[in-house]
Symmetry: D3
Subunit: 286 residues, 6 copies
């Protein structure tokens, strides 16, 4: 568990600990280590709410996401809990069209909770370690930067439980790494891949010898970003995400309109001035 | 030539041998080794028909594509045959607009035959070896996973015969590997690149010491995928291909509608149950 | 400075030297070495005009872009000049909506000048060395192929001066390299990255021991491309750029229409014939 | 006010009365007649919640939306309330970039509440009468079918209060009627237009002599639709809305996937059978 | 039945008569009047083949499509035949995912046959009369120009047989007429609409007193278009269809590439010259 | 000719008279009445420059475009001049690919000049009268509002001179009026259509008894718009044009970012205040 003080405003969440390891940095820890941090429905609903709250929280500029315990970032969906909730088995005799409507709505709810991390306006650094399969990939694909421990065991596991992954991996993974041949290999075979392989294909950008070292590196990177202009940082996240889904001409147009307001903020002048005077700028809350 | 028994339903094809090395796996071999497996028009018409048939064939769950003979996967277009068919030389005096219409129609036919592999609903593993230039790149870009022998000599050769590649390489290659600088280098210079280089940029995901070893690896991977739920596997291929051409929000929406039917199939429950009982599931034909 | 003879038609430009190191190759050198090749507004206006002119110049088939002097490809925006021009500081009391309009228009002008390189119909090989930060990334993202010296120090520096990069880096960089985790890391942290790192992620496709060697390699590659059919080469650039911004079906359709005219040119037959007769083709100006 | 019995599940809403004039039909009435049904922030938050609830309510198959009182469907934004909430006036001295962030977020909240009507899976018939300006157009653009009284006074009023309409009118109106020349005329001039003009350009599809007659016609149409298969009706709304935002090939593809589940429901067979036996079908809840 | 001589090349079709009422004009008649021209599967397969053949037939420049007999253009799907073919009823006990795959494939085949009319490179003028419901709307939406008799009874009938229309109406109708309120009204209510209403909303562009007069007008218009440059006419159809599915900048770009070949044809000069010399041009086959 | 005083800043244009009939209104008159206002290349180059200048001119808030003389708004391309310039006839023996490149470039230049009107940030009201064919349609499609005299004779004339219209009509007309059947009729037949027909389909929004009356109505409308907030008016044009080319979700997102700056301008508060105090607001230059 994180040693930093929990942030009061997030104390009511049951399955996550949110603490502040340094100014303007929030550390979100998935906190169900006895169950390998597997996700039940209440957990993903909380996950969505936390990131929506972080997005609007002016005391937070960067977020680090990790999993409690030694064994797993997360082992994915808590299949047993899902089975007990009746999510996996439609009742006999139900109408196919009616069940289809229910499933669309159920998948959408799940997708939106996970996507809340992508929509969060602050950069998210995800630290993976140990078992990191199934939903672990969906979640980490919504982070901006991925760092992992050398013992991480990754897998896009869904075909092995009889379904095409539907919470985001198939939509996002091919846009996150360069080799489609590799993406299709791991998604179709459901095989494990290692931290080294994840780094080689660009899925993670750093590998460290242990979870602790990986987390430490993430917190250091987070601290460094938290000292920069939040107008610049949050604009950069927005424009990179926009760019992923639009062509270049569209992106340039949107960028112009975005920066027409952003550049009128004080951060810009202050950062310029600090550069010229070689002093450290301090940016106001956004 | 493949040692597996040819599949009867594909026996009539002249230029390809289609055999079944293991249950639910089809092995398609380009079979014109004396001509370095170069493609004439009848060949690409057959190519299109074969993959359309494989797509609908419920006895096939995975396809391996390779070239017969030691020397080449394929040396590309059979230029001599094309010249004799009059495809390369428009008649003097013909009207430019009329010739343009003929060429559009001719290129479209060729593109559609090759795209049949991409549209085939079953995963395709392509094994390349030896000479693999020009059309070899177009074809293999339509496969899902690429594996090659260490002796493979690749080249996007088209500029050297005076044209911008128009059968798919320029549309697909940049979406298959990560480095645009590399893509433009090989497409503009038409230079050879090796198996090692292909692996480094992510064009292929495995390199093996010989064609035989590469093929063996492909067949093993195919066999492994063929034992998984076809609903999950074919859904995964569909959603990954959809994702390549759509933004994330679009993909998530399409995924919900797709899985609303897929998750009502029996494969899902069966795979879950097998996971819990540690038994090997057997999936029905799709 | 380049040792090749300056091309007369470009002699009037103040901040750039344009010379011809070999037939059909133009070498554009950013020529303000005392200021680390930093860009003032007159410079980017010239930059735009030069590439628009090169695009239409039938004596040019390939362009090499580099920076004069030992120390920098370019250190980016000339902040001091920009400050003196009043570009960085809006006047107090001005109306926010009015300033927003002015900024949109100002950014658009800058974007269009830089985009002129991308729109130039001839391939551009960019040679980077030394300090290559901020605008250096925007510029080089518009080139087709990037080559660098081993001493290059790269950085997407904009967040450190308080803004989200708005001249193209955020729109283009994620489409140029494969790893989004890496892109977001360097864009959010503004940290330096080395030539080796740039090669590993695919941002550059060659690293050489010095600026001279890098330039030499670029000129050799340019010379090789300049001997190929300009119809084929320019079509390849157009179709690859089109492909980046369109899905595969769209690209194939556009390709058919494009090649319906291109294949009626003489280059195609000539290249085919040269291939058959093992002679070196000579292509007419385009 | 509506004479039908209020539906218990919606009784807690303060500013709207939701009643059930006939089986499976919900009638939503904007209920602030003394203020010409002008919208304060609590009202649009309620509006969003009501339509989200209606979307999931299996007892509702069609919705009719109208405004209480004789004088107005709605006069739009309650400017006075907005002024008091500080929504219209940014505090002096605030940072422009910070205010821009606040405004984006504020507009997004408002847009999403209004868009809830468009996203509601049940068809919505909007009945307009009297003053119907500003927000009235935004709201009614999210309905599927528009019917009005002959005394309706329409206006896209926003330019007259100094802003470009940002809650949906400019995005949706041009896709709802055919003549762009007319759309730009009314949006740029902010002039009134009559029921007759609205019918002539296709904005409304029926005009009736009074609010009562218009409402009666809407309820009759709603009743008629409510007797049809909800699978067919809701699928039709979904596919028409999808079609507005996608090209034809995309729409056909999505349609196939959608109907692959929908056609397996019982409604299809039942409707066919009823057609052959000339009996009235009864469809189960969806 | 048409009085013009059947064209030999289309004589083998069973359910359609294809004749040539004037040079370069083909008249396709749906020929199953005893069954109100209802479509069975063999008919729509033929329909697809005919329009694919017409598209490539250089003796045809314009096509007129109508229905034989006095009573109906077409009453739509032949429900009885579909029921006998088992297309409407999935077998009990079949797997939902497997049935979904079958249905997707079945709908796609049907969609593609109908879309063949849209893809036909020659303009199609559709003449509707009498009963014109269900599939009649799907078919006529693929024509370029719609003309009808005053006795035509139109309806988008699908919701009344329990499904959302999936052969094209919902994708195309909103792009063919201006008023979305009207489109949703007729699609959700399945009500009849008259020739006058069809003309008022722009679905048809001419109404004539009888089927004969409507057909006569269509043939006259076809004859007039058939005398114009086929390069110009077919380019116009292509560019208008392209424009429907693309934004303006995309359309302008595609147009440039298209006309770069088309304007080099002889038709252009010949038409110009005829204009100057006031003579009637004669255009060669395309 | 216009009776208003010519504006000095536009006095150097040869083929157009630009005057100011009322504050903040510019009237652009095509001024080559002896040639029916037919366009030669120098004219369309001027046309592009004028609208680019108007877009940036803070003394102009609305533009009216009309044609000098009694007989024609414009008869379109000056075919004779084009022939003399060699634009219509490619030289014999030229390479097809080379000519294609030249034509693409030539068409692009022409398209961009005409598109300058669409890109102009101020609303444009186009007044048509008399002969208004060919290019007249391309030009007027770039205006925001179209008004015409009852004697106007319209035609999309291009197929009659052997080409598919390539300067914008085919890309824009279908997005301007509702009935595709009508659009294809007039584009394929090249037939004349009257002012009444243009009004009925929504191409123009007002018809007046004479050119003078039409112009008078346009000037009055222009004057009325010119008194409104330029921030609101120009934002409305931008957002409506953006909306035409994007789906609703995209438009709403862009709108939020646009208005986040616009609403911080003074116009908004001033307009609100004027509304409350019933006084006439005066807006500063933008």
């Amino acid at each position: 568990m994180s040693t930093a003080t929990p942030i009061q405003a997030y104390a009511a969440y049951e399955h996550f600990v949110v603490s502040s390891p340094s100014p303007f940095v929030a550390h979100v820890e998935i906190n169900r280590p006895r169950k390998l941090n597997a996700f039940s429905r209440p957990m993903w609903l909380e996950f969505g709410r936390i990131f929506t709250q972080l997005s609007a929280d002016e005391d937070v500029r960067v977020v680090v996401l990790s999993g409690a315990g030694d064994r797993a970032f997360t082992s994915g969906l808590d299949v047993q809990a899902a089975a007990e909730d009746g999510m996996l088995t439609a009742k006999e005799g139900d109408d196919v069209a009616k069940k289809a409507k229910g499933m669309r709505s159920h998948i959408e709810e799940f997708q939106e909770c996970v996507s809340a991390a992508e929509k969060c306006e602050k950069p998210i650094i995800c630290v993976l370690h140990g078992i990191s399969i199934g939903l672990a990939i969906d979640l980490s694909c919504c982070a901006d930067i991925r760092i992992c421990a050398s013992n991480t065991r990754f897998a896009v596991k869904e075909v092995d439980i009889g379904l095409a992954a539907d919470i985001g991996t198939l939509a996002r993974l091919p846009k996150i790494v360069g080799s489609t041949s590799w993406v299709k290999d791991v998604c179709l075979s459901a095989r494990d891949f290692s931290a080294q392989e994840a780094a080689a294909v660009g899925f993670v950008s750093q590998v460290h010898g242990s979870k602790e070292l990986a987390l430490q590196a993430a917190l250091a990177l987070a601290a460094s970003i938290s000292e920069k202009s939040p107008v610049a940082v949050q604009g950069t996240k927005e424009l990179l995400n926009y760019g992923r889904d639009h062509d270049v001409a569209e992106s340039l147009r949107y960028t112009r309109v975005w920066n027409a307001a952003a550049l009128q903020g004080k951060d810009f002048g202050q950062a310029i001035m600090s550069g010229l005077t070689k002093t450290k700028p301090r940016f106001e809350k956004l």
